[in-house]
Amino acid sequence: MIEILQYEFMTNALAAALLSAIACGIVGVYVVVKRIVFISGGISHASFGGIGLGYFLGISPVLCVIPFGIVSALIIGEVSRRKTISEDTAIGILWAMGMALGIILISLTAGYAPDLFSYLFGNILTVPRSDLVIMLVLDAVIIATVCLLYKEFLAITFDEEFAEVAGVPAHKLYLVLLCLIALTVVILIRVVGIILVIALLTIPAALSRRFTDDLRKMMAISVILSALFSTTGIYLSYLFDLPSGSTIVLVAGIAFVVSSLIPSGTGLKVLR
């Protein structure tokens, strides 16, 4: 197993797995406890428009996803507050429009889009060094924001209306939280791709809930689980020559199903 580490693509892949585990472990916990899985799915799919824009303009698609994802997040957040249309309708529309825009932009771009498939379904074995730097910076932004706003985020995720009454600018901070989801999507694109992002945003966090009642510990456990799933998935995909993103998602999914079969209260909550 050690000999595979001599390949640069493999060390890059492991670095990407660990860097993405930090983001999806922390932000995924908020996604799960605030029950905004569908919103996160909307943000990630709408972000595909950013990939298309990157191709069209001839610049890094991953960089283009950052503003695109943030704008999508802000639109969803604002629409959900105004209530002129129902939130899930708005998410569905944005979800499809972002994807459609991405496909049109790519078709308008001359030539063949060689790694399009890897943006959709991820290919952690082809992560270039430049993307690792982007991931590192985004991780730093996410960690700094969550450290700064931990108390406020806890208040708004538990009870947004009460937080507002208690003097917390709940809606603005909710928009910040949605932007963190958009940044996490950017980090995860290389690992599992836009379509499978939602798996790593939900499975590790949902699993960590079985071990503890504490949000901070949930984050730590979820980071570890996510790293474990990604590295296991990379290894299996290398061993059996399988698509890496899908293998990672299936590893995580199977772990979740197996753990669900264990009845709760059988000594799982050791870390209380």
Binding site: F158, V168, L215
Partner: protein
């Protein structure tokens, strides 16, 4: 009844219309064309009042509280809280929402729930020692301090109710607004809950809304009746006409044997 006491909450001719977002042809937002949910409500709540607002479900009780909290701005009319804007003066108001409406599985401990009552006091910084002291005091006051490390969903309905009261108290409010506080808690817990309110009313103004007429009427000092329109005489008396108008049907009301009567003798 002293008329000289200070007015803490004042509503003048407040109208709120129903926010119809689920209509078949999409949405229309709130506006003057919608169905009114509060009709020309005028209400003055004075310092140290202990006011119960009764009325049928859908009669606008929660909306009224949210107007006072500045969460809903009225389509017309004026709302003043401590003589000023309700949003600006929220810091004087403690809010206890309907307690059954939260996510029981949320990974949060009792102490952290109570601390969120102080989350807006010093934004973007952690809780101070004083925040923790006030949260502890609030838990002490509702006799829930021994449960501070418990996950909130693992408490009984009555215990959760106390924690949510402590969360409101941690912000050191001058007015406490409670939405259907007795709903979903057993008789024994209700008795303890009203004992607690009796202690709290010594130091603050309390407004509670409920659809349960008898329970509320025994404990409060003043009572109002709300079904879109508000019926209130700044006292504990309502006429049978008020109740009939509010509930839109004649009500058989047995006032005998109740320590404080609700209905005027007739």
């Amino acid at each position: 009844m002293t008329k000289e006491t200070k007015e803490v909450i004042g509503l003048r001719n407040v109208w709120v219309h129903f926010d119809d977002t689920s209509g078949a042809n999409g949405a229309m937002g709130r506006g003057r064309d919608g169905i009114p949910i509060l009709e020309d409500v005028t209400l003055s709540i004075r310092e140290h009042d202990f006011l119960g607002i009764i009325g049928p479900n859908g009669g606008g009780k929660t909306t009224l509280l949210k107007v006072i909290l500045g969460l809903i701005s009225p389509d017309s009319g004026e709302v003043r809280v401590f003589g000023g804007d309700p949003v600006k003066n929220r810091r004087f108001v403690g809010y206890v929402p309907q307690h059954s409406l939260f996510d029981h599985d949320f990974p949060i401990k009792v102490m952290d729930v109570v601390l969120t009552g102080r989350a807006g006091k010093r934004l973007f910084r952690g809780y101070s020692d004083r925040d923790r002291e006030l949260a502890r005091n609030a838990l002490e006051m509702v006799e829930m301090l021994p449960f501070e490390g418990r996950q909130i969903g693992k408490l009984s309905g009555g215990e959760q109710q106390r924690v949510f009261i402590a969360r409101a108290l941690a912000a050191e409010p001058k007015v406490l607004l409670l939405d259907e506080p007795a709903a979903g808690i057993d008789m024994h817990a209700q008795t303890e809950f009203y004992e607690l309110l009796k202690r709290l009313k010594e130091t603050m103004t309390i407004v509670m809304v409920s659809h349960d007429i008898t329970a509320i009427s025994i404990h409060v000092d003043k009572i109002a009746c709300l079904n879109r329109k508000l019926f209130y005489h700044d006292s504990k008396e309502l006429t049978s006409g008020d109740l009939e108008a509010a509930y839109r049907c004649p009500i058989e009301f047995i006032a005998h044997g109740v320590p404080h009567r609700v209905l005027r003798e007739h």
